[in-house]
């Protein structure tokens, strides 16, 4: 097992390569990957692929609480060295591989209670492994909020240090014969780190733990690294994207509302403008955020950038060959613990994202789930897709599971029956999630006439009313003027 922990940004990325062998006497189709519960809350994605074929395996959360753990000693003498794990579907029993001379239950190093503290992910291989078969695959995970600034407060021009706590050993529910962990750090400035004697090598900004031999399932030894990370830690507490398609205008209007927090080390004393003005060099290397940039589709037009109290004038849009770049400054520089909210929006021709599929007679919207704002993690993302009035037979497909999908009706300008609204919610999102989601729907050309008809009916009604009104007599008695 070879594990790499990437600490060069605020996101902790863990890549673990496994070489596993089935030592059970039956063929096996799945593998269970454990993640401690407290880590699991911050897990934003998990991906497994076979190393040779580059094929992705299916991963799903395994709900182990409903399962019964059994000790069945009859299998015990069969296993040696490597793994096996199996859930028999009929009895909901789990049978685990174990090294020789080890006592059941195997999944946990200490007690049964730990069971609830570990979340298992079930990886389904694309084939069943026969006994003694080997497989090589890589598990890639990414976690947010796993780093804490330490010290918690630094001066305006100070350096920011982070503290990372983890496990020296890789996550494994199985006996691991050999393993190694490499930690990649952003710089050579490392204040302190766990040093298990004999198992550590320090190579500039790389720390190497291992090789460890023959570790029990779910072994744990604290890994603590205190190092310098001179970057702003930006977290989007909430992002709401409104995508509104209009077939009338051939337009896709996009508006994104951000609620951003800089979660780096807080400012020790208060902000001093004098120091900010004076130390140009410190300003550049400081962890505060002065400017953000976004790339928009190349055909984006009518770009605006505002916040709750109006337009922010410090934005700049420039067009490049294949994209438009919006560079903007928040109203104030963002130091640790400071918040800022804003929204921006633009129009793009609908044709860039919506295609008509003539065979099925369906329109297909293909659009990234999020628009990449560099170096940022998202706690919650809500995507609201407003389809044109009269769209029906709506189907949504996402490349990854979303936490909530709901459908509703949205009414806006000149609507009679309202538009079809899809709301997708997802927590813990990374820029890696900027993959296309697909919404397909049918839309008859009669619907295009709905608005003009509604408007002309209203105007006709007004004319009719005024005709009736002008022909009526409201005065009491005879009016003298008309005769």
């Amino acid at each position: 097992m070879h594990r790499t922990i990437d600490l060069t940004s605020s996101i902790v990325r863990e890549t673990t390569s496994f070489a596993a062998q089935n030592i059970y006497n039956e063929s096996i189709g799945e593998y269970y990957y454990p993640i401690p519960k407290e880590w699991d809350e911050h897990l934003s994605f998990i991906e497994v692929k076979e190393r040779k074929t580059e094929q992705y395996f299916e991963v799903e959360k395994a709900d182990f609480n409903s399962l019964k753990w059994v000790a069945s000693s009859k299998l015990s003498d069969q296993f040696e060295n490597t793994f096996v794990m199996h859930i028999s579907n009929e009895t909901n029993e789990i049978i685990c591989g174990k090294p020789k001379n080890f006592k059941w239950p195997l999944l946990h190093t200490s007690s049964m209670n730990n069971c609830s503290q570990i979340q298992y992910y079930k990886i389904s291989f694309n084939r069943r492994l026969d006994p003694e078969d080997k497989i090589k695959f890589t598990v890639t995970t990414a976690f947010t909020h796993m780093l804490t600034p330490y010290p918690k407060e630094i001066a305006q021009t100070g350096r920011q240090n982070m503290l990372f706590r983890g496990n020296q050993y890789g996550n494994s529910a199985y006996y691991t014969a050999q393993q190694k962990t490499v930690v990649k750090l952003p710089s050579v400035v490392i204040i302190s780190y766990s040093q298990p004697t004999g198992f550590i090598t320090n190579n500039r900004n790389m720390l190497e733990y291992g090789l460890f031999d023959g570790k029990e399932p779910n072994s744990y030894e604290e890994l603590k690294i205190h190092y310098e990370l001179q970057q702003s830690i930006l977290t989007v507490k909430g992002l709401r994207r409104d995508l509104e398609i209009s077939h009338w205008g051939g337009n896709l209007a996009i508006e994104e509302h951000f609620n951003l927090t800089q979660e780096g080390a807080r400012l020790k004393d208060n902000f001093s403008r004098l120091e900010y003005h004076k130390n140009v060099y410190a300003r550049q290397s400081s962890i505060m955020t002065r400017e953000l940039s976004l790339s928009l589709p190349v055909h984006a037009s009518n770009v605006y950038y505002r916040d709750e109290i109006g337009n922010v004038s410090t934005s700049h849009l420039r067009y490049e060959q294949d994209k438009a770049v919006l560079e903007f400054k928040p109203r104030y520089p963002l130091f640790g613990g400071w918040n800022y909210t804003w929204y921006y929006g633009y129009n793009v021709p609908a044709g860039d994202f919506v295609r008509y599929h003539s065979e099925s007679g369906r329109y297909i919207l293909n659009i990234p789930f999020i628009n990449v704002l560099p170096r940022v993690t998202y706690d919650k993302v809500q995507v609201r897709i407003i389809l044109p009035e009269g769209a029906s037979n709506v189907k949504v497909e996402t490349p990854f599971p979303v936490d909530k999908e709901s459908h509703a009706v949205h009414k806006t300008y000149l609507d009679t029956i309202g538009r079809y609204l899809i709301v997708l919610d997802k927590f813990n999102v990374l820029n890696d999630h900027a993959k296309n989601i697909q919404v397909s729907y049918t839309y008859s050309s009669f619907e295009l006439l709905r608005k003009p008809l509604a408007v002309s009916t209203c105007i006709l009604g007004a004319f009719l009313l005024s005709m009736i009104y002008s022909r009526m007599e409201f005065g009491i008695g005879k009016s003298e003027k008309k005769s």
């Binding site: 403008r273 800022y340 300008y413």
Partner: protein, 742 residues
């Protein structure tokens, strides 16, 4: 025949089209600030109106009615429902609700921003109606055009200037139109409509007092002119009774119509009208000339008895005397002496002469002409115009802000004058007779004749050949006049674009290359407060910024632009003017966590707090004469200085310290104040009870955090001295000395 219509219909169509175009121009010329900046609420008061509107939209009308705003005037709070003219907010909330019911999800901010321009179009239409009653519809169109672009009115109704005046001027004009109409026709229906719009006006603006005094004055003058008629009786009675009853429904007005001096004139006239009506009834049965005289003297007598009764009642306390603001209308020095807070507002200053021309351009010359023409006809409605003109021009002279009430009548009278002139010089019948005449002759004779008055057609026909009405002189006059009109339009546009279209929360300057550069420090600071401070923290600042802080930063303020509690404002003024120790106590007592000051020294922004500081001192001195003394802030030579020669009191005041804290260091020694053109003293400014929390990019807004009490129970000055490590020993020695002495 155009479009198959007869002449009358063509005229009607033309009128509608022209009025539509005028409305369009009126709206369009108010959009400078949106185009140049953005759709944003301007200045100070509009921010409160906007905030109140949002509250109304997000809750219900009854909640708004009972709204107790605990986030302003901390710790007193403000009963908003009972201290606000709700007309404006209700208007926009109604528009908002209607649009949303029709599935038009327009943002409430845009409704608020565009409300004043929309109502200016209505004002133009009501000016048309009013002037059409006075002269004819062509004068009406001119009046509509004038008021559509007159800077005097635009100043308060550009897009984003979401203030009561924006809708009030329309209501004023429309109420007057309905009154004239009601009076002309003697119709109770129009009287009731007048009352209805009067009610709307009461709900919208404190200036309704003008209506409730002007209409009775009109009635009274008509009576004195012997023009009492059943029309007047019907119109006035229905207006007064309904209007008063309805106006009392506004909580802020309440029983004022029966209890305050401002409203007594209307009541008196109502009484007189009843008496006259009764007497008339009697007279219709026994007519004689002596009776007439007796009757007139009786009227005069009863007027004076009522007046004295009113004075006595006032003295006796049954009727509230005039308010301070009202006194300041009669005595311009009054406010300065007794209520500095009223005098401290720039719009309450007496008007400077040039501003009449600035706001009205050529209309101000045509105004007397129009009044003169009204005198020539002098029907009931002309009397009204004359009275309105005279009173409004007096008020406009007293207070800059009342230029607004003068503008409509100036537009009406000027339109009468211009249309009269055009009537004469554009008469087609004349033109045709003229053409038959040899042109050369008229040229020579032109100078012989003096300007002939008016234009009775009989005399016109006799002097076909001679005089100024020959074709080309007429053309000269017309060309000149068109030139004036064009200049007028040009001037109005120029004034609107340059003087009245700045939102004042955003400052604009230009880069050397001419491109616009926006200084957005106010919003930078307010947004910082909004996002990075505790929701319940209290912000102390001078009252000018109260509404903006509440609206943009969404934080609790101590004082704001409502200025209903002079003592509280004086307390803030005292805190700003005192030394740190005194100020700290005041701030602790008021739970202040942040102090906000405006400082223009770096950028040369002259509307900053140091320049307003004298008013703070004056207002504070009014309430705390022992603790704050204006004299201490002036040098022995009587100068107000911030540099080396600044007085110790000035230098110790927290306002001075907060403004210039760290400022010297920015210049690496001695700071240069660009507003006051002064070099500061190079002494370092030390703050021990406050610490800088945020300063905006151009240093315009500086926010300070009030420190918590010291953990060891020392005073914060001592703690600061201890931390700096210098004075520790000395102070110890001092204290031991003191103890020895004691």
């Amino acid at each position: 025949m155009v479009l198959g219509l007869d002449v009358q219909n063509q005229a009607a169509l033309l009128k509608v089209v022209i009025l539509g175009l005028i409305s369009f121009v009126a709206i369009a010329s108010r959009l400078f600030s949106i185009i140049r900046f953005e759709s944003v609420i301007h200045e100070f008061d509009p921010w409160f109106n906007y905030r109140a509107t949002r509250y109304l939209v997000s809750t219900s009308f009854y909640e708004f009615w009972n709204w107790f705003d605990e986030r302003s005037w901390y710790p007193l709070g403000r009963v908003v429902g009972g201290t606000v003219f709700p007309g404006l907010m209700v208007t926009s909330a109604t528009i908002y609700n209607i649009l949303h019911a029709l599935n038009f999800p327009v943002d409430i901010r845009n409704i608020c921003v565009l409300l004043a321009p929309a109502f200016s179009a209505f004002t133009a239409i009501s000016a048309y109606l009013l002037t059409a009653e006075i002269k004819d519809s062509s004068a009406g169109l001119l009046a509509a055009a004038f008021i559509g672009i007159a800077p005097g009115y635009i100043s308060r109704s550009v897009a984003g200037s979401y203030d009561n005046e924006g809708i009030a001027i329309f209501l004023l004009m429309f109420t007057f139109y309905l009154w004239i109409k009601g009076l002309k026709e003697g119709s109770a229906f129009y009287g009731a409509l007048t009352a209805l719009f009067y009610f709307y006006m009461v709900a919208a603006w404190g200036g309704y007092v003008f209506i409730i005094n002007l209409i009775p004055l009109h009635a009274f003058v008509l009576i004195l002119m012997g023009r009492f008629s059943s029309r007047l009786y019907v119109a006035y009675s229905s207006f007064y009774v309904l209007g008063t009853l309805m106006s009392m429904q506004i909580p802020f007005v309440g029983f004022q119509p029966t209890r305050t001096s401002e409203h007594m004139a209307a009541l008196g006239i109502f009484g007189i009208l009843q008496i006259i009506a009764f007497v008339e009834l009697v007279r219709s049965h026994l007519a004689s000339k002596q009776f007439q005289i007796l009757f007139k003297s009786f009227i005069v007598f009863s007027f004076f008895t009522m007046f004295f009764a009113l004075v006595l009642l006032t003295l006796g306390g049954y009727i509230a005397p005039w308010t301070g603001r009202f006194y300041s209308l009669w005595d311009t020095g009054y406010a300065k002496k007794y209520i500095p807070i009223i005098a401290s507002v720039s719009e309450h200053q007496p008007t400077a002469w040039p501003s009449f021309f600035f706001d009205l351009e050529m209309l101000i010359f045509l105004f007397p002409v129009g009044i003169y023409l009204c005198f020539r006809e002098l029907r009931d409605e002309h009397v009204f115009v004359i009275l309105y003109g005279i009173t409004a021009s007096y008020f406009a002279g007293v207070m800059v802000r009342l230029m607004l009430t003068l503008t409509p009548i100036v537009c009406v009278t000027a339109a009468v004058a211009v249309s009269h002139l055009l009537d004469l010089y554009l008469d087609i019948n004349n033109l045709e007779t003229e053409r038959s005449v040899d042109k050369s002759e008229s040229d020579n004779k032109g100078k012989h004749k003096k300007l002939k008055e008016g234009g009775s057609r009989s005399s016109l026909n006799q002097s076909k050949i001679f005089g100024i009405r020959s074709f080309d002189t007429r053309a000269t006059v017309l060309i000149f006049f068109y030139f004036f009109l064009i200049i007028f339009v040009w001037h109005c546009t120029w004034v609107t674009s340059n003087a009245y279209s700045s939102p004042s929360i955003v400052l604009a300057s230009s880069h050397p290359d001419g491109s616009q550069f926006i200084i957005d420090d106010f919003r930078e600071a307010y947004y910082w407060l909004r996002k990075n401070t505790d929701y319940n923290s209290k912000v102390m600042s001078w009252w000018d910024y109260g509404y903006q802080i509440a609206g943009m930063a969404d934080r609790t303020t101590l004082v704001d632009n409502n200025t209903w509690n002079n003592t509280h404002i004086a307390t803030v003024g005292k805190a700003m003017a005192s030394s740190e120790g005194v100020a700290y106590q005041i701030m602790r007592r008021h739970d202040v966590s942040y102090v906000l000051v405006i400082f223009g020294g770096l950028l040369g922004y002259s509307g900053d707090d140091i320049n307003k500081f004298l008013w703070m001192i004056r207002i504070a001195e009014g309430v705390y004469p022992d603790e704050v003394k204006e004299g201490n802030f002036f040098t022995p030579r009587g100068e107000y200085r911030v540099d080396d020669e600044a007085t110790p009191t000035m230098r110790n005041s927290i306002m001075y310290k907060m403004s210039y804290h760290n400022y010297n260091e920015l210049f690496g020694g001695q700071g240069q104040d660009r507003v006051r053109g002064a070099r500061l003293s190079s002494e370092k400014i030390k703050l021990s009870t406050l610490e800088e929390a945020y300063t905006t990019e151009n240093w315009i807004v500086r926010i300070y955090k009030v420190k918590e009490l010291d953990n060891l129970g020392r005073s914060l000055e001592q703690a600061a001295a201890f931390n700096s490590g210098k004075k520790r020993r000395r102070s110890k020695i001092k204290s031991t000395r003191n103890s020895k002495n004691g």
